[in-house]
Symmetry: C2
Subunit: 383 residues, 2 copies
Amino acid sequence: MSVTAPQGFSAAGVAAGLKSTGKPDVAVVRNDGPQSSAAAVFTSNRCKANPVLWSEQAIRTGSARAVVINSGGANCYTGPDGFAVTHATAETAGELLGVAPVDVQVCSTGLIGLLNDRDALLGGVADAVAALASDGGPTAAEAIMTTDSVSKQAVVTGEGYTIGGMAKGAGMLAPSLATMLVVLTTDADLTPAECDAALRHATARSFDRLDSDGCQSTNDTVLLMASGASGVKPGAQTFADQLTDLCRDLALQLLADAEGADHEISIEVVGAASEDDALEVGRAVARSALFKTAIYGRDPNWGRILASVGTTGAAFDPADLDVAINGVTVCRNSGLGDDRDQVDLEQRQVHVRIDLKSGDETGTIWTNDLTHAYVHENSAYSS
Amino acid sequence: MSVTAPQGFSAAGVAAGLKSTGKPDVAVVRNDGPQSSAAAVFTSNRCKANPVLWSEQAIRTGSARAVVINSGGANCYTGPDGFAVTHATAETAGELLGVAPVDVQVCSTGLIGLLNDRDALLGGVADAVAALASDGGPTAAEAIMTTDSVSKQAVVTGEGYTIGGMAKGAGMLAPSLATMLVVLTTDADLTPAECDAALRHATARSFDRLDSDGCQSTNDTVLLMASGASGVKPGAQTFADQLTDLCRDLALQLLADAEGADHEISIEVVGAASEDDALEVGRAVARSALFKTAIYGRDPNWGRILASVGTTGAAFDPADLDVAINGVTVCRNSGLGDDRDQVDLEQRQVHVRIDLKSGDETGTIWTNDLTHAYVHENSAYSS
């Protein structure tokens, strides 16, 4: 059910002909109210797509009645014509739904530089609005897929209210916000400011800790819409934590379906002087092509890990680091540790634990390995 | 001839049994004087190998009479035992050459975490010293190879003096200084301070602009030794420029032989507000796995280039960028430009030109594509 699990939401996904495959490519999620509180976070990439330029302005009202998402073209670097298509999308959806265009968020995903076919897209918006249903979450989740092999949906149940979400993303997955399209819905009673605070708390601890391939998207958007239909006002921290759980669930679904990945790797940094230090170290390791190819090759190569740790500004003693891979401490006190042949890297899940021995803070970054399939997917096809 | 092209140098390379293949693995280059001015730059990785820890201290004298280089083991993260092996290397070479150990620079390359066999290494030092010859440059250049498929040597001739150099490196090639082993020699008459100034000028404009795979080594060293044997004192700027030419020649040889590479890519950034801006943008593009796989796939995907440009802090207008690939302006004013089918990416050399339209400064970063062969080399073997 995902985005339609909470009360007060309807959704649909339709095929508008934007994808050459004929698969579903336009989704609409409507907030039926009574409230329309909303918040969103967007890519921090300075080269932003037209729908991001629109939605960033529109969300300043703190309100969103609907979101229109198309796959089959990112509408990024398509100039004034591209912005006009985004604007027409919001106007068409607003007219059909009886809301102001500014209450319509727009997201696009697909190839950069490709102008979406205006007639096809607007036709898809009309079809999707006509198909809106209170159980339409799964069809919407399917329509936003690009190179995803499965749709990503999740639901968390609170005391008297529900949070739902859907996400897409399989490449250009890296931190600095979002790097994917995500729609989160809830029937909890929340002000726009409460939505914003909870969303920033959640994304900073979930999507922001994902770095599959180091490449930051131009189109990333995470949108939270609250209908208030449950009539329940949750505690701020409770809701933020539940939203974080939901976002982590979706983030790990993205990780599991990342382009060409053979392993899902969690890099846990412990003993850090600060959480920022822990995350900086985790990100540096997650960006190392040599580390990522080693994991693909089932090689517990701790030397490549320490070489990455050494590029950071985090507090640590280069002569006193420990590294464990899947529970085996292969490097102890910056030297040889236990027998590396004990490390089993056949399984898909890999846990790397780096102890900086410089404090009590921790942080985890999730990444994937670098595989032949990744090279193939990203060299054989434009995306 | 490389390092033995200038007067006053002898060199040798021998097989000491450190490499399981039995190939040459220990090189010695001796400065026969009359002068022994020297300067060196080292990796800025905080996780430094034992030979770097030694050589950083030893070079403070501004003098080096010899350098010993072994392949077959990086002697990094080998603890006090590893440092003792490095120290014994300097002592043994110093004794055999009749110079102080502090006048001996030591470099190692190979697998991190592997302690070099002390007896084999010291035996190799003795053999190499015995084999020193004024035409020994090529054998030394061969002995420092690891995954290199060819040795890298270069010579530049000044007015009455000569500069020679050799280098090794095929992976862990990224900026922040050096990321390879390089020995440069000259018979020009230079003080240690003049060596240092010229070396920093040259490396900042050559090796520092190479980013093959984003991975920074723990062992990088670039050493310049001046014998003064020509008796000629060059102009400071003239010498620095000639040394830069030599270093660029060696850097491009490293680029051409990078692990698994199918293309040599120069990313030229023009119209930048500052050289730093130009280099930041070039590095961001060079680090993009999606850009690198696209080039491998002969796909002139300018969207992936702009997505990388957008992650930087450089001055530019996101709506007014031009990108040319091999002479075809595929992106103009941040929109579609000339026909991308005109771009020929079959050849090995690729030139990407990004115009930020924000000033008159320029900068070029060199990188490689990301290929199946890179993944294979770095997943199938430990290094």
